[in-house]
C-alpha cells in the first residue's frame, strides 16, 4: 500500500493534466466546437474526414517531415562533431561548454524574434555579414525556397548544444580500456571511430534523436514568429492546428488535427523505442 501512496499523487496529477485533457480533446474532435463557445453538436467523423481530405494537411505533413529531417540530422552531425572536439580536457573547457549551452537555455519564441531581426533583408546582421564577405544576400523570410531553411537554421542554433551534451555523455560512457586495447592492436583513428566510438555511443545518440524528433514534430514557435502560421512554405502541423482553431475558430476540427498529430508522434516514438530496446538487448 505504501508504494501506491508514493505513486498516487503523481498519478493523479498525470490524470488531471494529461489523461483528462486527452479525453476531452478526443470528444471535442467529434463536435463542431467553436472558439467562442455556443451550441456544441456532434458531427460524427466529419472532422477526421476533412483532415484526411484537406490538401493543406498533406502539405503540412510534408513541411513538418522536411523540417524534422533537416533540423535533427544537422543537429546530430554538428552536435556529435562538437562533442568529439570537446571530449578531451583543455584549458577553459568549462567556460566553452557553458557558452555553447546558452542558446538551449533561452525561450524559443524570444529567439525567434531575435532571429527575425537577424534575418531581415535590408539591415539584418546575417545579410550584412554575407554582403561584407562578398556573398549573395538572400531574402530569408520572403523567398519561398528559403523560409523553411531559416526555421531550420534557428532550430539548429538552439538545439545543437542539446545533441552535443547527450553526445558528450555517450562518449564519456565508453570505457577507456577498450580504447587502450585498440591502441595495443594498432587500430587506426578511423577504425577506432567506426568500430568503437560510434557503435558504443549509438544508443544514447538514438535517444537524443528520439527526443529531438518528438520535439521538432510539434514545431510552432519559430514558424509563428518568423513567417506566421498561415505561410504555405513553413506551415507545420502545429501551425495548421493553430490556424484552424484560432484563425478559423474551428476548435473541433483543430483538435482532430491535434489528435492525428499525437498518433503520429506516438507511432514514431514507438518505432524508436523498439529499435532502442533491440539495440540494448543485442549488447
Amino acid at each position: 500500500m505504501l508504494k501506491y501512496g508514493f505513486v498516487g499523487p503523481a498519478l493523479l496529477l498525470l490524470i488531471a493534466l494529461n489523461i483528462f485533457p486527452l479525453g476531452y480533446n478526443i470528444w471535442l474532435s467529434f463536435t463542431n466546437y467553436d472558439l467562442s463557445g455556443g451550441d456544441v453538436k456532434s458531427v460524427g467523423t466529419r472532422n477526421y474526414r476533412e483532415v484526411f481530405n484537406e490538401p493543406r494537411y498533406a502539405a503540412a505533413i510534408r513541411t513538418t517531415a522536411l523540417f524534422v529531417a533537416a533540423a535533427v540530422l544537422i543537429e546530430l552531425v554538428l552536435g556529435y562533431a562538437l562533442a568529439l572536439a570537446l571530449r578531451g580536457e583543455f584549458l577553459g573547457k568549462g567556460f566553452v561548454l557553458t557558452v555553447l549551452l546558452v542558446p538551449m537555455m533561452l525561450s524559443p519564441a524570444v529567439m525567434g524574434l531575435f532571429w527575425h531581426l537577424i534575418f531581415k533583408g535590408d539591415y539584418g546582421i546575417f545579410n550584412q555579414t554575407l554582403g561584407a564577405a562578398g556573398l549573395p544576400e538572400p531574402q530569408w523570410l520572403t523567398d519561398p525556397g528559403l523560409k523553411l531553411a531559416a526555421c531550420v537554421i534557428v532550430d539548429v542554433w538552439m538545439w545543437t548544444p542539446f545533441m552535443m551534451l547527450i553526445s558528450l555523455a555517450a562518449l564519456n560512457s565508453i570505457p577507456r580500456h577498450i580504447y587502450e586495447a585498440a591502441e595495443i592492436d594498432r587500430a587506426g583513428a578511423w577504425t577506432v571511430f567506426r568500430r568503437i566510438t560510434l557503435p558504443l555511443s549509438a544508443p544514447l545518440l538514438l535517444l537524443a534523436v528520439l527526443l529531438r524528433t518528438t520535439d521538432a514534430l510539434k514545431q510552432f514557435d519559430y514558424v509563428m514568429v518568423l513567417t506566421g502560421p498561415n505561410d504555405a512554405a513553413t506551415q507545420t502541423l502545429s501551425a495548421l492546428l493553430y490556424q484552424t482553431s484560432f484563425g478559423s475558430f474551428r476548435v473541433g476540427l483543430g483538435t482532430a488535427y491535434g489528435f492525428v498529430v499525437l498518433v503520429a508522434v506516438i507511432a514514431v516514438a514507438t518505432l524508436f523505442t523498439r529499435y532502442l530496446d533491440r539495440l540494448q538487448r543485442s549488447r
Binding site: D122, T142, T214, D221, T227, G247, T270
Partner: protein
C-alpha cells in the same frame, strides 16, 4: 506494450513546454472599484489611449468608471474570442474589427442595438459606408450590432520634402514628362516608386501592407483589387467565381506584386508595424498603411510628411476600410449592459465626437464633422482621411470570415513570393471561398 507506454510518456513530456511562450493575460476584469463601472476591450494603439481619456471625462460627468483594456493587435482577436467562450465576459463593450460583426451577430455574442441605436444616435449623421461596414449585419439589412467608434482607411503617407526638392522634381519631370506630385493614379504611383528606388543608397519607393499574419496582406491588396475591377464576390448571392478572379483582379494582383520591386528587400512581408519602419527610418518615399498610424508619422516628420488618399485606376478609386465599432457583449451582466449603453450614447454625441477627433487618430463616422473645414484642417492627414471615407470597401463580415481570410492570405502571399501566378492564386481563392460558403450555407451560417 511497454514501448507504447514509454512512447506515450515521451509524447506527453513533449507536450509540456515547447517554447515557454505565453499569450498576454486576459486583462483586468470589470472594474470593481466603484459601484458603477464598465470595461472596454480594444487593441493596443493610439485611439485606445484617446478613448481612455474620454472615459475619464465620462466618469466625471456620470460617476461611471470606464476602463479601456488594450491588447496587442496580433493577439486581440484570439483574446476576445477566447473570452467569449466564458459564461461571462470580462468586458462589457468590445471594440471589434468590422469583420467580426457577422460572427458576433449570428453566434449571439453581441447584443442587437437596432431599436436602441436609432433612438440614441442620429443615424443619418453616420456616414453610410461606416454604418454598413462597422455597424450593420447583414449588410444593408438595417440591423445594427455596433455603434461607430473608430473609422479608419488605408491611405498614403509620403515624403513631401523629397517630392518638393527642386533637383528631384527636375529629374522626375525629365524622365516621366510630368510633375512630381502625390500620385493620383496607380500608374503615377508606380512611376514615383520606381523613381525613388535607389538600393545602392538604401532608398526605396514604397512600403506596402503585405504582412502574412491576420489580415495585413488582404487589406493591402483589397483596394487594388477593387480599383482594378475585381471584388471579393456578390454580397447577396455569395458568388465568388468571376469576381475575385476576373481579369481586373488578376491585373491588380500583378500590379501589387510588381510594386515589390520598389520596396525594401523584405517588402512582400510587412505587417502593420513592420510596414511603418522603412518610412520611419527615412529610407522610403511612400507608405501605404492605415491613417490611425499616421499621427506618429506626422509627429516625427512634421512638414516633411504629406498624406493623400489611395490613387485611381481609370475612374475607380477605393480604400480598404479599417476601424471598429462598439458592441455590447451579450455575456456581460444586464446592469453593465445598461451602463455600456449609457457610455455609447454619450460617446456618439456631437460635442463628444468633436472631442474625439482631437485625440490622436480619433477618426469619426459623423458626416458633419468629416465635411467640416475644422476637421479637415485639424491635422495634416485629416483631409486625406475624410476623402477616403467615401471610397471605403471591406472584406466579408460573415461568421466564416476567418476561414475566408486564410486562403486569401496564403494564396495572395504565394503569388507575391512568386510561387504561383496571380491567376492561379485567385482561382484557388475562388474555389476555396465557394466551398466555404457552400458549407456555411449548409450549417446556416450565412444570412438569409
Amino acid at each position: 506494450m511497454r514501448n507504447i507506454v514509454f512512447a506515450l510518456a515521451l509524447a506527453f513530456a513533449g507536450c509540456g513546454d515547447g517554447g515557454g511562450s505565453s499569450g498576454p493575460g486576459p486583462g483586468p476584469g470589470p472594474a470593481k472599484d466603484g459601484p458603477k463601472a464598465i470595461t472596454i476591450w480594444w487593441a493596443q494603439w493610439a485611439p485606445a489611449d484617446g478613448l481612455q481619456e474620454l472615459g475619464r471625462d465620462f466618469e466625471k460627468e456620470t460617476g461611471i468608471k470606464v476602463t479601456v483594456h488594450q491588447t496587442p493587435w496580433p493577439d486581440y482577436q484570439n483574446q476576445v474570442n477566447l473570452e467569449f467562450g466564458n459564461r461571462e465576459t470580462k468586458f462589457d463593450i468590445v471594440i471589434g474589427d468590422s469583420q467580426w460583426i457577422g460572427r458576433g451577430a449570428s453566434k449571439g455574442l453581441y447584443i442587437e442595438l437596432t431599436d436602441w441605436l436609432k433612438g440614441a444616435v442620429d443615424m443619418s449623421t453616420v456616414h453610410p459606408r461606416a454604418a454598413k461596414y462597422l455597424c450593420e449585419y447583414p449588410p444593408g439589412s438595417g440591423r445594427y450590432w455596433a455603434a461607430p467608434c473608430e473609422t479608419d482607411a488605408i491611405g498614403i503617407a509620403y515624403r513631401r520634402d523629397w517630392f518638393e526638392d527642386a533637383k528631384e522634381k527636375a529629374a522626375y519631370k525629365e524622365k516621366y514628362k510630368r510633375d512630381l506630385a502625390p500620385p493620383a493614379t496607380y500608374e503615377e504611383m508606380r512611376d514615383i516608386a520606381e523613381f525613388f528606388t535607389r538600393p545602392a543608397d538604401k532608398r526605396y519607393g514604397v512600403s506596402w501592407l503585405t504582412g502574412r499574419g491576420y489580415d495585413a496582406l488582404t487589406m493591402g491588396f483589397e483596394q487594388v483589387l477593387y480599383a482594378f475591377g475585381g471584388s471579393w464576390g456578390d454580397e447577396k448571392t455569395f458568388k465568388v467565381q468571376g469576381h475575385i478572379n476576373n481579369d481586373g483582379a488578376v491585373a491588380g494582383l500583378e500590379y501589387l506584386k510588381s510594386m515589390m520591386k520598389f520596396s525594401t528587400p523584405d517588402g512582400a512581408k510587412l505587417d502593420y508595424g513592420q510596414c511603418l519602419e522603412p518610412f520611419d527610418n527615412g529610407s522610403t518615399a511612400m507608405l501605404v498603411n492605415y491613417f490611425a498610424f499616421y499621427p506618429e508619422i506626422s509627429k516625427k516628420f512634421g512638414d516633411k510628411a504629406g498624406f493623400c488618399p489611395m490613387p485611381k485606376k481609370g475612374d475607380r478609386r477605393f480604400a480598404s476600410l479599417g476601424g471598429q465599432g462598439m458592441s455590447i457583449s451579450a455575456k456581460a451582466p444586464k446592469e453593465r449592459q445598461e451602463l455600456a449603453r449609457q457610455f455609447i450614447k454619450w460617446f456618439e454625441q456631437l460635442k463628444i465626437q468633436k472631442e474625439w477627433i482631437k485625440k490622436p487618430a480619433g477618426f469619426p463616422a459623423n458626416t458633419d464633422i468629416l465635411k467640416s473645414e475644422e476637421f479637415r484642417k485639424a491635422s495634416p492627414y485629416n483631409a486625406a482621411f475624410a476623402d477616403s471615407v467615401d471610397i471605403l470597401v471591406d472584406f466579408w463580415n460573415v461568421p466564416v470570415f476567418g476561414e475566408l481570410l486564410a486562403p486569401v492570405q496564403q494564396y495572395v502571399g504565394e503569388a507575391m513570393d512568386g510561387k504561383r501566378s496571380a491567376k492561379d492564386a485567385l482561382d484557388a481563392i475562388a474555389t476555396e471561398h465557394e466551398e466555404i460558403f457552400r458549407k456555411a450555407r449548409e450549417n446556416g451560417d450565412l444570412p438569409k
